[in-house]
Symmetry: C2
Subunit: 388 residues, 2 copies
């Protein structure tokens, strides 16, 4: 199978960016990635864009073509495709770009992820985010995402004795990492008391257990691995790519504490990469809520099912732990512009594997993993990367 490498990365600041439009954000991230990669516009064979709900947020569908056009590539008539899988849209765009290079049809592909969630007119972000859940079985009855993940948290606490303090420690850790990330939405460390005493959103989840509503964009340039060093001295190879699905509503699952879509996607990715979970040096996981990070480190095989809470107590996922998780600050502190997230995770891993992560650099990082989830786990995408 043809191998693929990431040769360029670009990221905007994440946050409430009232003075930046959708078009400004995606072209900023894209330009940075292209400049970083060493390619020229004429080298680009295709573009893939991940965005969850541009139609509802900014009244604009058809954003594959929009992005190619806004980036100044309309005269090249290159294929430009939008991919959507709720909050996993970015990860899915990475995977489609990857597959298109593996196919041999494309050599160089630009992948963007974007969401503009603030300053979007009369639409409530919570209501639009609920379109990632099951409209007929969940959203219609008023279930929003904090409510769905609160149910997962309640069950996890009941079944595995996971505590509110363990959930809170996830937020504390991710804010500590985000404080070291210049692009993060929230750049301050928070004490555990602040998390524990925050306003409840959906019990047991409080305000600081939830990722924010964010604007932002991320982009990467990928190419066939055998031509990567022509453009870039330190490319990062994608050594595993896996994707999985599950029931759209939570009630259909075998076990709501396990995201089988993640288990399935990770299994595929590990097999392709020919590694074990213990070989992974760091991971960006989908912590849309603190409980989601606990489930993720279990489902990805870093710890056994049910032991995620205890693993947080043991601090194995901190920057100097055995498996640092969400060194970027994660969705929780870096921010969660939903369509951008999956691409931004790859940006962080590449930065770490290149040794360019500055104050949040993980020592001797050789293999990194990115894990992006849609909805309450109906879609999951896992990519494993290694420095070349």
């Amino acid at each position: 199978m043809r191998e693929v490498a990431v040769i360029g990365i670009g990221l905007t600041k994440f946050g409430e960016l009232w003075n930046k439009s959708f078009r400004q954000l995606i072209t900023e991230a894209g330009s940075k990635a292209i400049l970083d990669s060493g390619i020229e516009g004429k080298d680009i064979d295709a573009m893939y864009i991940g965005s969850m709900s541009s139609g509802r947020f900014i009244g604009q569908e058809h954003i594959g073509a929009l992005v190619a056009d806004a980036s100044g590539f309309s005269h090249m008539h290159i294929p430009a495709t939008r991919v959507e899988g709720a909050c996993a849209s970015g990860g899915l765009a990475v995977r489609q770009g990857y597959l298109s290079i593996v196919s041999g049809v494309n050599d160089v592909v630009v992948i963007g992820g974007i969401e503009k969630m603030n300053d979007v007119g009369g639409v409530s972000a919570t209501e639009t985010l609920a379109t990632a859940a099951d409209q007929e079985w969940e959203a219609f009855f008023g279930a929003t995402f904090p409510a769905l993940y609160a149910m997962i948290a309640k069950r996890h606490m009941h079944k595995y004795k996971t505590t509110k303090e363990q959930l809170a420690q996830v937020a504390v850790k991710n804010h500590a990492n985000g404080a070291k990330n210049p692009n993060a939405q929230y750049r301050r460390e928070i004490p555990i008391e602040m998390v524990l005493n925050a306003s409840p959103v959906a019990t047991p989840l409080g305000l600081f257990d939830c990722s924010p509503v964010s604007d932002g964009s991320a982009a990467i340039v990928m190419c066939a691995a055998d031509i990567a060093k022509k453009y870039k001295d330190n490319p990062v190879k994608i050594i595993g790519s896996g994707q999985g699905s599950d029931t759209l509503p939570l009630h259909g699952r075998r076990d709501i504490c396990t995201l089988d879509a993640t288990v399935h996607a990770a299994k595929k990715a590990y097999k392709q990469a020919n590694i074990k979970p213990s070989d992974v040096d760091l991971a960006e996981v989908h912590d849309c809520f603190t409980i989601a990070e606990i489930c993720a480190i279990e489902d990805l095989g870093f710890v056994k099912k049910g032991e995620g809470g205890k693993a947080i107590d043991r601090k194995i996922t901190t920057l100097d732990g055995t498996i640092p998780v969400n060194t970027s600050g994660g969705l929780k502190s870096k921010g969660h512009p939903v369509g951008a997230t999956g691409v931004a995770q790859v940006v962080e891993i590449v930065q770490q594997l290149r040794g360019e992560a500055d104050r949040r650099q993980v020592k001797n990082a050789k293999i990194g993993l990115a894990h992006n989830v849609g909805g309450s786990g109906a879609t999951s995408v896992v990519h494993i990367m290694e420095a070349m």
Copy 2:
């Protein structure tokens, strides 16, 4: 490069289907395609779904996972991805499924296209369709799709002396074909006077120059060509696939009478198939408006630029002409559930190449082409197929 074949097709009736939901439509089309293909559920490696604006129409994003779930495949955790490119969403889904098989990662893929545009609450279909245009430069100022295509028509009439009668003849032909298609939304022939005297929508386009607002779904099963005959006696090979983009708004184009995205996509597809336009026996083209079919037969190279109107007069595109176009009735008469259209075009071509098109069968059909456009031409996808 690995070759790919279509082994199963499925289509719902198109129309105002007040008694059928999004989920019912997509599972009906998908089940038909799977039954037709000879595969079993366990054979499916991935699903791709084309839909333009499920988020706005039915308040539901994340429909890749929804479709896998509603189809009963959630326990298999197969990758399920939604692809969007406005009215070209279906064609893009076909192309992504195709690329994923070419890559060698997938062997058997199900592709669905779907739109539910009636019975969708307070949303105006015209306003949601306008999200395929440029929100900031077109839709914001009130330009809807009839208006944009009316500008193309005006220019074509001015530059090439194309007449209202020639536009009308496109509608007459497509209604004559649609009358022979049991799944078409409109199943009656119409006289040219009815088209010419219809209420104006956006001059020079009248009501019968416009495709309708429709509900419907289409699905196909594709697999690696070397295993196709294991499942199906008469597979149809995809011998060319091309995709192109252009400026999102009309005003940026080199020439608004030419869809350069189509020219580019067709060039790629013809080159891959190693054929000339004159080798094509029949085509399904994107006639969202009558003028669009005239531009399409020019841009696809069936006639020279500017001679599309005269070609209609010469009746070369009728069922017994030299290059029958839109034997299904086209978007005009079969209906245009936007995300379904690109997949439904492939369904028609496969039916024709198998010799199963009944009263609308084209004699000696060996090579067929499907042409799907997003917006006013910012995205275009072309697939060329041949019986195996």
